[in-house]
Each structure stands twice: as structure tokens, then as C-alpha cells.
């Protein structure tokens, strides 16, 4: 039986930040990090950036820790191993190679997986998600010989890949189920603003469309859509979302929903087990509800807070996180909780005509989230307003106009 005072499942930003924070606060406790990818900590967020793909950013910039960092800090990295079961009573995690680890404190920083695409032919070469460094490496090598590419899905991945592929001189067709980009997370005005720049840069968009079959031999040569349209292509990138593989966690008796459930201290239902990052569905005390977020800043800061709690402190996680992207000259930003449920009210700020358009999302008058097109500069202020629980119900008219400086509301 192997032993670790601190066992961390997941070697991404949440797991690695946690390992680093534990080491800062506990100089002697043994730390083992298990990663199902055969690599040390790298920048997953860089993987979809056009400058990285087009090698304007050197490939080695992707590594965020040297191998020597692990040895110098006494952090044992088991790369290329997967955890397969957990027993919180006996405090044992089993790995896919049959080995067993007994832990003192356990952190689940297990992330998410790219959702499997069930279309016939999706196993052909050149049909890829973009989730791991290996996916990115394969796309980088395939882009060089690709004339026509198809992007599936309307989200961050397709948006960033569209710019990369156009810069590389590839013909791009975007196949989306929705009637406008990023429906229903964005409203139609925002979606059309994004489509406008995609179209202006030569991306073809097929709405309400779905791939019926992928054609080719060993490698992809084209697709047939459900309406019978045939499109030739040598590369398909499927940005169809992510899902958590939680069966092994659940069967150990740790409570799960869409993600692993935690309280505001990021502690799960099992003693001495914490969960962080994309896979954690945590109690968000800023907005008073349970949420699951998939972004770098959230994962990084959760890793830090869970680590503090694992070394014996009691810190609640409190953060308004955000994620942004830019491409084709526009910026897209998401702050806080951007899901518009029936109990939410949306106040528009700016307009498509002005080229700047935001949606401020209120719950009982209080700001809980926002989506921003070309308003990246207001992201910090909006996060501050959300954190303060600012009641904007009496100021809706004011915030609709871009001339109102949001600073005055703080």
C-alpha cells in the first residue's frame, strides 16, 4: 500500500495550485498528484489560442512547471495514471494499474472530459475534440495539410478555432444545431454580433444543422448533414461541450449531482475529501446557490482555498470568476453566473449598433452575472458589483446607457 498525507487526483491548474499551496503551508507532509494525462502541469487555456496554434507563441510556453519543480518541492507526480475507485471509510484510492493509495486528505481536482460525439464515423482520424495537449498536438499537425475544416458547436472552442483556421488559410464551415451562435447562453443580439464577425472573416455558418454521418476511409474526407448536404473536409473539431465522469466517485459514496457536491469550504459529503475546479459543484456564497463553473480563475482559486482547508484552516471560497476570449477583433466576456433562469431579469447595456453590448443579469434586483461583447474593460467593475451584491433595481435605466460609468454605482 502506498501512502500520501495529501493525495490529489488531477494535475491541472486546480490540482497543481493545491499542491503548491499545501507545500507552502506544510513543509513535510507527503504529496502525491495523480494525472490521467502523460504530462506535467501545462496551460490548458493556451491550447485553443490562435497564436499558440500558429506557433507565434513558442510551444514550450505551454509548460507552467518544470520537471524540477516537482522534485524540488517534494511533490510526487504520477502522470498517465487514472483513479478508478475511492473508499472514504478506509481512505483508499485505487488506480488503473491496480495500485492502491492510502491518504490522509484527498482532493478531487478531476476536471471534465470532452463529451463523446456519437455520430457514425466520429472515430475516424481527423475528428477531434480540443481538451487535452494531445488533441492540440494533433490539430496543430493536421492544420498544415487541411484545406477545408468543419467546426461543430457554438461556444468558445469553435470561436477560437475559427480564427486560428482562417489565419491558417483554411476554409471553415461552422455546423450548429442552434438558430444563432451560443444559443441559449447568449441572447440573439449577442449571438448575431459574433456571427457578423465570423461571416465577415469568411466563416460559413449552417444553422439548425446536424451531422448525420462522417465519411472517409481511415481519415475523415467529408460529412453528410441530416438534410443530405455533403461537405468535404479533412478536419473536424467538435466543440460540443464537456461532461464529468463521476461514476467512480459516486460509487464510493461521495455525493454528486452534475458535479461533485461541496459546501463553501469545498469539502464534499465524505470526511477529509475536497473537490475543486471544473468538476466541483460548490456552494457559491456570493450569489447564494450551488454552481459548477469551468474556468481557469475559478479552478486556480479553488485549488488554493481547498489546500488551505486541507492543511487545517477553515476558509470559505468566495470569488466572482470570469472568463473572456477575443478573436476577429471582438471580445466576449462572461462574469459570475450567466444562466438566465425564469427568476432572473436581464438589463441590456449598450447595443449592437454601438458595437458594445452587455447583458446584466439580476436576481431579485441584485446583479449576479453578465455577458459582455466588446466591454472587456468593464469586467472588473462588474465583478466588484456582483461581489457587493449591488441592488440595481432602481438604476436599470441608467445602466442601459454606455455613458453611465459603472464606477459610479459602486
Amino acid at each position: 500500500m502506498n501512502e500520501a498525507n495529501y493525495l490529489i487526483v488531477g494535475g491541472g491548474v486546480a490540482g497543481t495550485t493545491a499542491a503548491e499551496t499545501i507545500r507552502t503551508n506544510d513543509k513535510t507532509g507527503s504529496i502525491t498528484v495523480i494525472s490521467d494525462e502523460p504530462y506535467r502541469f501545462y496551460s490548458r487555456i493556451l491550447l485553443s489560442k490562435p497564436n499558440f496554434f500558429l506557433e507565434k507563441i513558442p510551444f514550450d510556453q505551454v509548460w507552467l512547471k518544470d520537471e524540477s519543480w516537482y522534485t524540488q518541492n517534494g511533490i510526487n507526480l504520477l502522470a498517465g495514471r487514472q483513479a478508478v475507485s475511492i473508499n472514504p471509510q478506509s481512505k483508499i484510492v485505487a488506480l488503473d494499474d491496480g495500485s492502491k493509495w492510502h491518504y490522509g486528505k484527498l482532493l478531487l481536482a478531476i476536471g471534465t472530459c470532452a463529451r463523446k460525439w456519437g455520430v457514425p464515423g466520429a472515430d475516424k482520424k481527423g475528428v477531434l475534440p480540443l481538451r487535452t495537449l494531445d488533441d492540440a498536438k494533433e490539430i496543430i499537425s493536421r492544420v498544415k495539410t487541411t484545406k477545408q475544416a468543419i467546426l461543430i458547436g457554438s461556444g468558445f472552442i469553435s470561436f477560437e478555432m475559427a480564427e486560428m483556421l482562417r489565419l491558417a488559410g483554411v476554409d471553415v464551415t461552422l455546423v450548429i444545431l442552434e438558430s444563432y451562435y451560443w444559443e441559449p447562453l447568449l441572447d440573439e443580439t449577442s449571438g448575431r454580433m459574433i456571427e457578423k464577425v465570423l461571416l465577415a472573416n469568411g466563416v460559413k455558418i449552417l444553422h439548425k444543422s446536424e451531422v448525420a454521418q462522417i465519411e472517409g476511409g481511415e481519415a475523415v474526407e467529408g460529412v453528410v448533414l441530416k438534410d443530405g448536404t455533403k461537405l468535404p473536409c479533412q478536419l473536424i473539431i467538435a466543440g460540443i461541450g464537456v461532461s464529468c465522469v463521476l461514476d467512480w466517485v459516486k460509487s464510493g459514496g461521495v455525493e454528486t449531482n452534475r458535479g461533485v457536491l461541496t459546501d463553501e469550504y469545498l469539502q464534499t459529503s465524505a470526511p477529509d475529501v475536497w473537490a475543486v475546479g471544473d468538476a466541483a459543484e460548490f456552494n457559491d456564497i456570493v450569489i447564494g446557490e450551488r454552481v459548477q463553473l469551468g474556468n481557469w480563475v475559478n479552478s486556480q482559486n479553488q485549488g488554493r482555498i481547498a489546500a488551505m482547508n486541507m492543511v487545517g484552516q477553515k476558509q470559505a471560497f468566495k470569488l466572482v470568476s470570469f472568463y473572456t476570449t477575443q478573436g476577429f477583433g471582438i471580445t466576449i466576456g462572461f462574469v459570475g453566473n450567466v444562466r438566465v433562469t425564469p427568476d432572473r431579469e436581464v438589463v441590456a447595456r449598450g447595443s449592437a449598433e454601438e458595437g458594445k453590448y452587455g447583458r446584466l443579469i439580476l436576481h431579485n434586483g441584485k446583479l449576479v452575472g453578465a455577458t459582455l461583447i466588446n466591454l472587456a474593460g468593464e469586467l472588473g467593475l462588474i465583478a466588484k458589483l456582483i461581489e457587493k451584491g449591488a441592488d440595481l433595481s432602481a438604476r436599470k435605466k441608467e445602466i442601459a446607457g454606455l455613458e453611465t460609468n459603472l464606477q459610479t454605482l459602486i
Binding site: 491548474v13 496551460s43 490548458r44 480563475v297 473572456t324 476570449t325 472588473g380
Partner: protein
């Protein structure tokens, strides 16, 4: 301290780590808040920052939090400290 605008992708981890020092500009790139209201990518010395009281450790943590290593910190003699 300098922000390399070619590397910066607007992940804004620095804005979370040191909100009195960093914010995103209209192009979604991190800028440094200087005394007198100026904001740019630097280089900026610690004495030029709007937040004079910020501990060095917080600035280093902000740089280390960047997923593209776009924040470069050098000492008074020009020796690179991070990355």
C-alpha cells in the same frame, strides 16, 4: 513589471490576484494601473503603481497565476525574477 501583450489572452487571473494593480483594457489585455490614472502594459516600477502599499509577494503571485506567463518581473538591476 511588464505585460507582454502578445502573450496576454485576457484570462484575468492577475486581476483576481491583484485587483488594485491589474485590469483588462478594451482589447481584453491586462494593463497596469499607475499613479495619476494612467494605465498601460508597462514597464512600470513599483514606485509608479497606483497601489503603493501592495506587497511584493502579491505581485509575484499575480505573475505566477498567469496561464501564459505574460507578466514579467525584473529587479532594480534588470535581472529577470519571473518567469
Amino acid at each position: 513589471m511588464t505585460v507582454d501583450r502578445n502573450l496576454c489572452i485576457g484570462a484575468a487571473s492577475c486581476v483576481v490576484a491583484a485587483p488594485t494593480v491589474f485590469e483588462l483594457d478594451g482589447e481584453n489585455k491586462a494593463v497596469i494601473k499607475k499613479q495619476g490614472g494612467a494605465k498601460d502594459s508597462g514597464p512600470a516600477g513599483k514606485e509608479e503603481l497606483e497601489d503603493q502599499a501592495i506587497p511584493y509577494e502579491t505581485l509575484l503571485a499575480a505573475a505566477q497565476s498567469c496561464p501564459t506567463k505574460a507578466i514579467i518581473i525584473v529587479d532594480e538591476l534588470g535581472n529577470q525574477i519571473y518567469p
